[in-house]
Subunit: 406 residues, 2 copies
Amino acid sequence: VKGDFPLENLPFGIFSRDGDRRSVGVAYGDDVIDMAKVADARLLDDVVKNAVEVFNAPTLNAFLETGHGAWRETRVRLQTILEDRTTSKEFLVPRALTRMHMPVEIRDYVDFYSSIEHATNVGKLFRPGGEPLLPNYRHIPIGYHGRTSTISIREKVRRPSGQTKAADAPTPVFGPSRQLDFELELGFIVGLSNGEGRPIPTEDAADYLFGVVLLSDWSARDVQSWEGQPLGPFLSKSFATTISPWVVTLDALLPYRVENRAQDPEPLDYLRVDAPWAFDIDLSVSLQSRAMQTAREKPKEIVRVNFRNMYWNAAQQLAHLTSNGSIVRAGDLLGSGTISGTNEGSYGSLLEATLRGARPLVLTSSETRTFLEDGDTVVMHGVAAHPGLPRIGLGELRATIAPPEW
Amino acid sequence: VKGDFPLENLPFGIFSRDGDRRSVGVAYGDDVIDMAKVADARLLDDVVKNAVEVFNAPTLNAFLETGHGAWRETRVRLQTILEDRTTSKEFLVPRALTRMHMPVEIRDYVDFYSSIEHATNVGKLFRPGGEPLLPNYRHIPIGYHGRTSTISIREKVRRPSGQTKAADAPTPVFGPSRQLDFELELGFIVGLSNGEGRPIPTEDAADYLFGVVLLSDWSARDVQSWEGQPLGPFLSKSFATTISPWVVTLDALLPYRVENRAQDPEPLDYLRVDAPWAFDIDLSVSLQSRAMQTAREKPKEIVRVNFRNMYWNAAQQLAHLTSNGSIVRAGDLLGSGTISGTNEGSYGSLLEATLRGARPLVLTSSETRTFLEDGDTVVMHGVAAHPGLPRIGLGELRATIAPPEW
């Protein structure tokens, strides 16, 4: 099996066939395993309680709540079933015949800020003259709560309107954002709740984190710089967050874990982590303008960066998030924050790549870009691949910018 | 009928009797109207679609989704029913026999910052030497998203732990907050969704906003000042937000609307509002230490302030929130932000009342308070009363500070 979804991956999602109801699917090669059928055939009764109900559901939330043992054993069981081509055939639907839906009902959404390179780049742009990295950055996995109602797998992102104020203007104006941007991120989906809010130590994180999606934190930079103080980003982000439809399990990504990035200073005890929580995932963003699409030019890669270099990892974020007694629930989403490196071509947002518009990108069509134009399509990919191991992909996040609707 | 809940009020909530399932109730005097019984008697079929199902539900969300016409007609119908003492008697349960539950499943929670006095007071304390009010304040109803998993009607608030750093310390420490505070707010509950995100003009706000609760945005000030930049408050707030259990409808509060506060400069077009959206609601916070409780001393009033003076109103907040195409849903909660005045005794948080601990409050027990101590009970009330009109109350928000549990 070629592509992102070999036997060693088996990511979970929600799909339907024409006019049919939504239920759980697992991607395998160019097919979807119809998990409702597998459950209806009573092949999952011994690994998941109420399997028929859990896999006939319109979201993954019930499956998430079954816990790490059930997640793991379901994948192992599927691998066994798929080895028998005759039996497995009746459960497979060609992916081309399916339609994907939002995989999870999102409960709380926190967007972190865990690339120290991104934080430094942004600090330089938003606070010129100041120290780019604030004093708390190396002590706290900085994050903030985001809006859940606008998280989707939609492939259309409407340009938002908002208040902006030019530096030399006396007063703000309201209108379509002129600095629309993407942010390349990964999203970690929480599977298990900590009930009444018992803090989750870093060593238990694998029991609570189900899997990973690609995530774009769409951002209106002109709105963000005017509204962002003192309480942080709000409408500059809340209009849209999109994720990829297949949730790749942490179990599938285990072989691609690498040593954690060194942290200086050592974090406080509750944030120390011994197990490796860095993942060697090669990420890319490509951009295709409307003109390129018309000319059948493929999207141009404008970002390539590896997830392994993030300063803070998901185990630390989950420990931090719950250190004050906060409740996490199945369906919580933890965004990594923009993933950026230090070199040209490794910046996970146009804000950084173009120095806030000062250094436009040149596309293969010879068009230039400072921020996104209507009709631009953004495509994100993520792949884990080590010598001697299969290639595991996150699938694709794709979205086209639409003009303001209202 | 005396107290907060006369015939002209009729707030909605979720209640149960011993061991019984949860369903919709309406407070009337010292009783609860069992709405499931009223619906089962088919007395609401012509005002609410699927009334039996809607009022037998464990949250108000289904009722919220029925829309403004149904909310209004349900109250009018109840007023008619209650006029007939014989009929109505069978629907009433003494409140003393009931237990209240969370009225609404909260979807997204936004906490605004709409008291200009509060923003000014906090600006002075958190940014000494700087301009207390940031340049965007008079143009934007500033707000941020908060955590929904920890919103409750619980009467116990655990002291959170967190990272703090003393100004003169080289590094942060982790431990129980020593600056635990309340924030006196009102919360507006969204009833109707705007579907795919069509902006809600200020003149339509009454169709979308169902009602009001008391809200305390519990805050760990020492955590807040260390974590809060650059992305805003996070763990300093996410450990607990509590609300009062009865949702007072906007319809009930209509007679207490007063002229909007003058805004200078005039807000941008999308934020202009002609109808009055200021409410004359007299609010108070009282504090009772454990020693006072033991000595049977009643809580001492430490805050009294009126809601009418808020700079930004809920219609403007809803218009702002949706101006970028954001989706609102039944069960969204909009916090007003701390309600403060300019005089001693009118500050809606201890941060302001004690100048961040510099000027302790003296309780009737002769104890002093800078921030909350374990065993302290905070009680909030809100009442609307005009000459010639009945007194309409919001009920009570009450919570006692418990020591750190973990």
